[in-house]
């Protein structure tokens, strides 16, 4: 699918789903302050990440613990056909912008990875996330892992551990549709597997996120 077709398809999905989606408190994040300098503050140790077995684009079982340690990790949940303008596409834009900033500092970029885990193991097969990853994030200079699960049953403990809510929209007959409702969250995880910051929409301030990554990178140097 070309970028234009993809955009058109997502546009259509967005327009048809908009009426049913409660926009909640969603507003584009604003930043009207100077971000504190990296290292001038300490990020809280919010919770450890529990291990789980997920699937790589090759269909290979992958331990989540191996992808949330040894590097500073930004982890988020997504689904490939998400069209909420302040959901997955917004996270994608934020993450690609951050990746580009990190790549300007190669030593730092080498210590950071992004991990995107699908909400929808049924549609988002290993092949599907592999294709999606190539389309939206393919850049050999930066580690960006895309994962899915064998089943919803195997995914649920991961969502529960992170406190990532998700529900499925139903049609007029009460049947589940493909549309997911979820609160956009990005989890910043340190090299020892501790969640150190959680960004929801109001906190998706790229300069702050960049400084947070640097703050974690500076911890090891101390």
């Amino acid at each position: 699918m070309t970028g234009a077709r993809l955009a058109l398809a997502l546009s259509a999905v967005a327009l048809t789903s908009q009426a049913a989606v409660d926009p909640g408190a969603a507003t584009a994040p604003r930043m009207e302050f100077v971000a504190p300098a990296p290292g001038s503050y300490t990020l809280q140790r919010i919770q450890p990440v529990r291990d789980a077995v997920l699937l790589s684009p090759a269909g290979t079982p992958m331990h989540l613990a191996g992808l949330t340690s040894r590097k500073i990790t930004l982890l988020t949940f997504f689904y490939t056909y998400c069209a909420d303008p302040l959901g997955c596409p917004f996270a994608y834009t934020t993450l690609t912008g951050l990746r580009d900033r990190l790549l300007a500092e190669p030593a730092l970029a080498g210590r950071v990875r992004f991990v995107s885990v699908s909400f929808d193991p049924t549609t988002d097969t290993p092949q599907a996330i592999g294709w999606y990853g190539q389309q939206v994030a393919g850049d050999p200079r930066f580690e960006w892992q895309f994962l899915t699960a064998r089943s919803v049953r195997e995914l649920m403990p991961v969502l529960d551990d992170f406190g990532q809510d998700v529900s499925v929209e139903t049609d007029a007959q009460g049947h589940a549709t493909r549309t997911r409702h979820h609160m956009l969250k990005l989890f910043l995880i340190d090299e020892s597997g501790q969640v150190r910051e959680i960004y929801t929409l109001a906190f998706l301030q790229p300069q702050v996120m960049f400084n947070d990554i640097k703050t974690l990178a500076m911890e090891r140097a101390r």
Binding site: L15, G24, R30, Q44, Q47, G138, R150, A176, A202, F203
Partner: protein, 440 residues
């Protein structure tokens, strides 16, 4: 090719932003944290009331009372559920977690925090966890405000376990109920004002990276009979007179503001370009405006009086409208609700008031401002006595000019207790949990 695809994404996202912006409003239905998802923009289905147990009344226990407020329901205006927590600990305030799945409810006496599941069956919340380690972990007691942050809960406290005075701090827990960290309220001079170390409410402006806190009084005062307290000049000195501006990211206090008279609830106007907050000082009966007068520098200014301060009306709770242009204020002593026009926040004007009863305390309004709910209990030792001790939840319709009674639940007749803080829920429309949606 990559650049081309990026351009398409960027254009798409920009276009969709326009769609989203048209449907977006600001504020919330009862002044929730801006990090809370799924705000109820339409008709709420239930009001949940954190209720203080009264010895000899019903089971005598603190409880979460659920009232059906859906006009189409056959149970409209009736109590449909109660969850007793077993004992009396001065039930006071509540707050949702960021995902709105759980409601944290605190006790000012025994410092317990109860966590209720609000999703499985909103009509019948279930108690899933009791957090008891606040005093041990922090030496703070009297958990008052529960303010959602992403994946965690910031708890504003009233007192400390050492001398039970007003010096206290903030505590941070993750959403699983595990303690994360604590932040003492400042007691030194910051920006020319010395902090008193007292605490009360918590409110955040994410765009400004600012956390505001206010200040009340310690256990020694809030657990004491109000009549005796008012006659004790020394005790009356121990009320908060400051607000604190914090750098939210670093959790460091950056300014102490002088706000005499126990500033209580804080409400932000988060509409872009506004970025101001209001609070009401209980003892002086004044509304204060907290505003950034130059980049990074905040001021607090009294901008209106509430009722007749010489009669100590005791403003107890405030609720700002979704557009930030109006404010409900309840004054406990005269049982009156007031509406202030905040169109010019420098000069709020009272445009309406109504005496509801002998005493009123908390006020919550729906997102659209069409429904207003009022409860009557302040604190178990501060409530009026005898015939004046009305313990009710009053529901009103508001047409912009008049409050019209919808229904009242008498918590004494229902043998429930003293109704204090309220939160709303709505049944999830056309959604099911992922785990039950099938798909393997």
């Amino acid at each position: 090719m990559v650049q081309s695809r990026r351009a398409v994404w960027a254009a798409l996202i920009s276009a969709l932003f326009v769609i989203a912006a048209a449907a977006t409003a600001y504020g919330d239905e009862t002044c929730n944290s801006p990090y809370i998802t799924n705000l109820i923009k339409g008709q709420e289905d239930y009001i949940h009331v954190w209720t203080l147990g009264v010895q000899g009344l019903g089971d005598g226990s603190d409880k979460l009372v659920t009232i059906d407020v859906q006009p189409r329901s056959p149970y409209y205006g009736r109590v449909v559920g109660t969850v007793s927590v077993g004992g009396r600990g001065e039930a006071h305030h509540m707050g949702f977690t960021d995902d709105r799945k759980y409601l944290w409810a605190g006790n000012l006496d025994d410092s317990k925090i109860f966590v209720f599941d609000m999703v499985k069956d909103p009509a019948h919340p279930s108690l899933v966890q009791t957090i008891t380690d606040l005093p041990a972990k922090t030496k703070f007691i009297g958990p008052h405000t529960f303010y959602a942050l992403p994946g965690r809960m910031l708890v504003g406290n009233l007192s400390n376990s050492t001398d039970k005075g007003g010096v206290t701090g903030l505590a941070l827990y993750n959403n699983k109920g595990a303690y994360v960290s604590k932040y003492p309220m400042p007691t030194k001079d910051i920006g020319g004002v010395t902090g008193d170390g007292y605490g009360y409410d918590v409110a955040i402006n994410p765009a400004k990276n600012v956390l505001l806190t206010s200040s009340f009084s310690g256990y020694n005062n809030y657990m004491r009979d109000l009549g005796a307290l008012m006659k004790d000049p020394e005790a009356m000195k121990h009320f908060g007179a400051t607000m604190v501006v914090w750098n939210l990211k670093t959790m460091q206090p950056t300014q102490v503001l002088s706000v005499p008279g126990a500033p209580l609830e804080i409400r932000w106007n988060l509409v872009p370009g506004q970025n101001w907050a209001v609070t009401a000082a209980a003892l002086t009966s004044k509304l204060y405006l907290i505003k950034e007068d130059s980049p990074g520098h905040w001021t607090a200014k009294d901008v209106a009086v509430i009722g007749d301060p010489s009669k100590i009306p005791l403003p107890a709770d405030i609720s700002i409208t979704a557009d930030g242009k109006g404010l409900w204020v309840n004054t406990f002593n005269d049982g009156t609700i007031h509406y202030f026009d905040l169109t010019d926040p420098q000069h709020p004007k009272e445009t309406y008031h109504k005496q509801i009863g002998k005493q009123v305390n908390m006020v919550s309004q729906s997102w659209d401002g069409k429904r207003v709910y009022v409860t009557t209990s302040l604190l178990s030792h501060w409530d009026k006595t005898g015939a004046d001790n009305e313990q009710k939840l009053h529901a009103f319709a508001w047409d912009g000019h008049l409050l019209m009674p919808a229904f009242t639940v008498d918590f004494t007749k229902e043998k429930l207790g003293r109704p204090h803080h309220m939160k709303m829920t709505a049944k999830a429309a056309q959604q099911v949990a992922l785990a039950s949606a099938g798909g393997g």
